[in-house]
């Protein structure tokens, strides 16, 4: 028997309240049918005695206290899962929107997922080559990692994410790659940009897309990453794919959470975001990883735009505390025309230390990346000094640092969108750049490593004699 409650007791924002209900459980799904036959979906967010409050995913536009009939399904929100998801496009709540019809489910699963037992986790160790020097060399992406891109409005984070998708490959070719793409509150153009990119890369058949555009309801936006990650977990841990999840834009997601929280009348904490934003984000990001005895992996690359380029804003701040590092894009470098505009110093990959070096990439990799970080940070000191006393007044060694910094940005960080560098190319380039500095300045590596790789004057082969700036291509 299908039981429906006729009418509502209250309406507010995207929330509806019903009085006199029985046997309604917390987090249960409901179907709301309007007089004209339109069907909407909702979820129970509070029960108190015989009163239930629901959030309506599609919004409450057109609902009155009298024209709606509510049916409780008796189970939490779940989505259909199948290997046929690959190549399909879904809306933010996991319903197909590509006109190819419903999915025949192999399984249905709760979109909230469950926490992976730390004992069952496999510690991620094998790296994913992206062909981008700044990432491979200095903040290596590891399979099973969550590594966000911190960007700002107008910077080239989408291009970077697309390049990662195009070029990503693993050292040992075991298992297939699949991509889960979750768009949350992005512009139509951005969604189209990614779709076209997947198509050009010939990857469309390996991609599952979940689309919640900027104009779509915010409640669905809260579901979008959960649907996407449920799909990713299924592909990875049940079907054995290595899944790369791109989630953009986490800022829109967090703002949706804030909007929803304030409509519930919750006490706001920093910048109006609810106090549970950390736990909420963690429930998404922590779904990356690998499980012992299961073949696949879930690697996350969430993209977020820092409001006003402020890295201390709650969204990047909380994200950075949960994720295993971050790739930070820099406005100044973007203005200078450097692509990808990755700011090396604040960027970090926490899992890198265990996935590079001997037996993984190349023996000298940890030393080179450490030294590049240390030397590049001295470039910043030299630059700030030069801006006060002028370049001419600098000591010889500081001048060397300026030269190194310029070459490093122009040749190492800067690279073409189609340029796919191997790890050897990246590291050799690093050594050549380090040779601009005298040996005594290399204080992060042992004398043996320096002897083995440092070639005096090696940088001359890569620097253009006319302009030390270079054009982003290797000579």
């Amino acid at each position: 028997m299908r039981m429906e409650y006729i009418g509502l007791s209250e309406l507010s924002g995207s929330l509806i309240a019903l009085q006199g209900v029985e046997d309604v459980a917390y987090d249960e799904m409901a179907e709301i049918t309007l007089e004209n036959g339109e069907r909407r979906y909702g979820r129970v967010i509070t029960v108190d005695g015989d009163k239930a409050i629901l959030q309506v995913f599609e919004g409450t536009k057109g609902i009155s206290l009298e024209n709606a009939r509510t049916h409780f399904t008796g189970k939490p929100m779940d989505i259909a899962l199948s290997h046929e998801m690959l190549g399909r496009i879904f809306d933010g709540a996991g319903r197909p929107i590509d006109g190819l019809g419903e999915l025949y489910p192999e399984q249905r699963r709760n979109i909230n997922g469950s926490a992976i037992n730390p004992v069952s986790r496999q510690y991620p160790r094998s790296c994913i080559y992206t062909g981008i020097s700044a990432i491979d060399g200095c903040s290596t992406l590891i399979r099973g990692q969550k590594l966000p891109i911190f960007s700002g409005a107008g910077m080239k984070h989408n291009e970077l994410a697309a390049q990662i998708v195009r070029q990503a490959r693993v050292a040992d070719q075991d298992g297939e790659f699949a991509i889960v793409f979750a768009a949350m509150g992005v512009k139509n153009d951005t969604a189209e940009f990614f779709r076209r990119n997947f198509e050009e890369a010939g990857a469309l058949q390996r991609v599952v897309m979940f689309m919640n555009l900027a104009s779509d309801p915010i409640i669905e936006r809260i579901l979008t990453p959960r649907c996407a990650l449920t799909a990713a977990e299924y592909l990875a841990f049940d079907l054995g794919y290595h899944v790369l999840v791109i989630m953009t834009d986490m800022t829109s997601y967090c703002e949706a959470v804030r909007e929803f929280s304030s409509s519930k009348g919750e006490i706001p904490s920093r910048k109006g975001f609810p106090s549970y934003l950390y736990s909420d984000l963690a429930s998404l990001y922590e779904r990356a990883g690998m499980i012992k005895g299961r073949p696949g992996s879930v690697t996350q690359v969430p993209v977020l735009t820092m409001p006003n380029d402020d890295i201390t804003h709650p969204i990047p701040d909380l994200t950075g505390y949960i994720t295993e590092g971050q790739i930070v894009l820099d406005r100044d470098m973007d203005q200078k025309g450097i692509y990808p505009p990755i700011s090396i110093l604040p960027s970090l990959s926490r899992l890198m230390k265990d996935g590079i070096g001997k037996g993984f990439t190349r023996d000298d990799h940890p030393d080179v990346s450490n030294q590049l970080f240390a030397s590049y940070s001295k470039v910043q000191d030299a630059r700030s000094l030069a801006s006060v006393i002028g370049e001419d007044e600098l000591s010889d060694i500081d001048k060397k640092y300026l030269e190194f910094g310029k070459a490093f940005e122009a040749l190492f960080i800067n690279q073409d969108m189609g340029d796919n560098r191997t790890i050897d190319q990246t590291l050799d380039l690093g050594w050549k750049l380090l040779s601009i500095l005298p040996k005594s300045e290399l204080d992060r590596m042992s004398s043996a490593t320096i002897e083995a790789h440092y070639v005096e004057g090696a940088y001359k082969t890569i620097l253009n004699p006319e302009s030390a700036g270079g054009d982003g291509k290797l000579n």
Partner: protein
């Protein structure tokens, strides 16, 4: 049939009706699946319960049963080298029962109840037992002997005692009859409330350092056994790395490592690494002295709130056996945020930044459970607490950092700029402090050498001097400074690179004994003092730099292993030769 039923559900907060018999902080089982919860509020006929597991599917009308006692954990042999969630359920048993994903409603004891331990019973019928009397012991791991002590409230004559033998943790070994004729049954395990500090005889002054093998900590900002320290820092500054280093190398007998609201992969890493690494003293796997508590950020928030008390109670339990325990809590900010989240759901009035007004008192309660004590049994034991703090936006003025600062005496402030330059550990020597330096001076004098504290002070002074000189250098460059100031800058650079920076991935550098730390300071200061005499004769510093002696000393940390102290004589010779050479060239 239970008289109590659920009335309403809002996230982890559940309201219960059906009577007034539920007491504050009682542990309850909620709903058809029996989810674990705790009473946090009673008002009129409605009781408020916070539930430690996901509440989806709970509905009004489902039953609630009470255990009639406050939240407690079962303590006994089998805790060591194990990993638990925030309410002390063993994660490997959960894995066996539920697979790789944690499901709800699993009620299991912290201890393996089947396993037999070779227990030696140390009392006989007729003996008098008081709280703290040892009645049995067993070898828990190759490193730790587990001693069973009579809990508080048990006092009387032994009326029954089993012979020594193999028993499980629930077997009653000893029966004690008190003055009123009540019989107390003692077994290898005991239940212990987590929110009440375990009793002790008295607190003792802090007089011994916790030796960590980390140079900047041991020399500049030491922590005493039984002390409390905070490590605040923005993300990426290396809080977890520092905590891991301390857990691996500090000279405590037992480490309780508490991952509170942090990353799952980090706990996996700790579990793997600690199983592989050997303790430098005993050459046994570190896991044999470690207890991990993992309540990762995506596990239920209420259990995160409880996890710090679980960790502290376990630490105190081993302290009472006469061990020195170090508790690493990573991160206390996540705990504070859990308090905030639950407080918000309870609709309490928020104070600063949305945190509840009782934040400061909760932090104080927690840190005050650290201490160097005389146990009820009369032995000495300690709990040292090292709490990581994750300030929002890396801003140390936020409430958790500020309130924590009031209750700890060692403060290791991590610095974003140092981390960006990959200077690790990124402890900023200008903002950090330790109030234990004077308390510990006698110990250093007696055990390391009377030269240790003066060297330490000199090094600290040079770093301070450098900091003020750098203000000038930032404006006009280093070239215009007088030679003696250049020497300060050059020496401070050597201290920073060659002494303060410590590479945790380098087999030699990851752990450095105090003796070597002292030698390193001495050789650096030998160079400094010698150079000072040369410069007083207006010999330019560049001549000395050209000898390469600064670079040589900077690499000592990689070249001299911990058992090659004789090599320092060689370095001293090199310093003298370099000084001599410059001296001769200017005669």
């Amino acid at each position: 049939m239970s008289q109590y039923v659920i009335k309403g559900v809002n996230g982890p907060v559940v309201t219960v009706v059906g009577g007034q018999g539920l007491a504050m902080m009682d542990m309850v089982h909620v709903g058809n699946e029996g989810l674990i919860g705790e009473v946090v509020g009673v008002s009129g006929g409605v009781t408020t319960v916070q539930v430690y597991e996901d509440t989806a599917g709970l509905a009004p009308g489902q039953p609630v049963t009470t255990t009639g006692a406050p939240m407690s954990v079962k303590l006994g042999p089998g805790l060591l080298s194990n990993i638990f969630d925030g309410i002390a359920r063993p994660l490997n048993v959960i894995q066996e029962k539920a697979g790789p994903f944690i499901t709800r409603g699993i009620n299991i004891s912290a201890l393996d109840e089947e396993k037999l331990w070779d227990a030696t019973v140390t009392v006989k019928v007729g003996d008098t037992i008081r709280p703290g009397t040892q009645y049995a012991y067993c070898q828990e791991t190759s490193l730790i002997q587990h001693r069973c002590l009579a809990p508080a409230g048990v006092e009387g004559k032994v009326t029954r005692a089993l012979p020594s033998g193999s028993y499980n943790v629930n077997q009653v070994l000893v029966e004690v009859t008190d003055l009123y004729g009540k019989v107390h049954k003692l077994c290898l395990s005991q239940d212990c409330r987590i929110r009440t500090p375990r009793p002790m005889a008295e607190r003792l002054p802090i007089s011994r350092p916790l030796i960590t093998g980390q140079r900047i900590i041991d020399t500049l900002f030491p922590i005493g056994k039984g002390g409390a320290a905070a490590i605040p820092g923005p993300f990426g500054a290396g809080k977890t790395m520092t905590q891991h280093q301390l857990a691996k190398w500090s000279d405590a007998d037992i480490i309780v490592y508490l991952g509170c609201g942090e990353r799952g992969n980090e706990m996996t890493q700790a579990l793997e690494e600690f199983s592989e690494l050997l303790d430098p003293k005993s050459h046994q796997p570190l896991m044999n002295r470690t207890i991990l508590i993992a309540n990762t950020s995506n596990m239920p928030v209420a259990a995160r709130e409880a996890s710090v008390y679980t960790g502290m109670t376990i630490a105190e339990y081993y302290r009472d056996m006469g061990y020195h325990v170090a508790l690493m809590a990573d991160s206390t900010s996540r705990w504070a945020e859990a308090l905030r989240e639950i407080s918000g759901r309870l609709e309490e009035m928020p104070a600063e930044e949305g945190f509840p007004a009782y934040l400061a008192s909760r932090l104080a309660e927690f840190y005050e459970r650290a201490g160097y004590v005389k146990t009820l049994e009369g032995k000495e034991g300690s709990v040292t607490v090292i709490g990581a703090v994750s300030p929002q936006g890396g801003d140390f003025s936020e409430p958790v950092t500020q309130n924590t600062k009031r209750y700890v005496r060692t403060f290791w402030g991590l610095d974003r700029a140092l981390a960006y330059a990959r200077h690790f550990p990124s402890i900023n020597w200008l903002t950090s402090y330790s109030e234990y330096t004077t308390d510990l001076k006698p110990w250093y004098d007696a055990n390391v050498g009377t030269d240790f504290v003066p060297c330490r002070n000199k090094i600290a002074n040079l770093l301070q001097e450098e900091a003020s000189l750098m203000e000038i250098v930032k404006l006009i460059g280093a070239d215009v400074l007088p030679e003696d100031q250049k020497l300060v800058i050059e020496t401070a650079k050597l201290i920073r690179v060659g002494f303060l920076q410590q590479n945790s991935y380098n087999a030699i550098d990851t752990y450095v004994p105090l003796e070597k730390q002292l030698k390193m300071m001495q050789v650096i200061l030998r160079l400094y003092n010698g150079a000072k005499t040369l410069i007083a004769r207006s010999i330019p510093l560049s001549q000395l730099k050209a000898t390469g002696i600064f670079e040589t000393l900077a690499k000592i940390k990689y070249e001299v292993t911990n058992d090659q102290m004789e090599k320092f004589a060689d370095y001293e010779k090199q310093v003298d030769e370099a000084l001599d050479k410059v001296d001769k060239a200017n005669r």
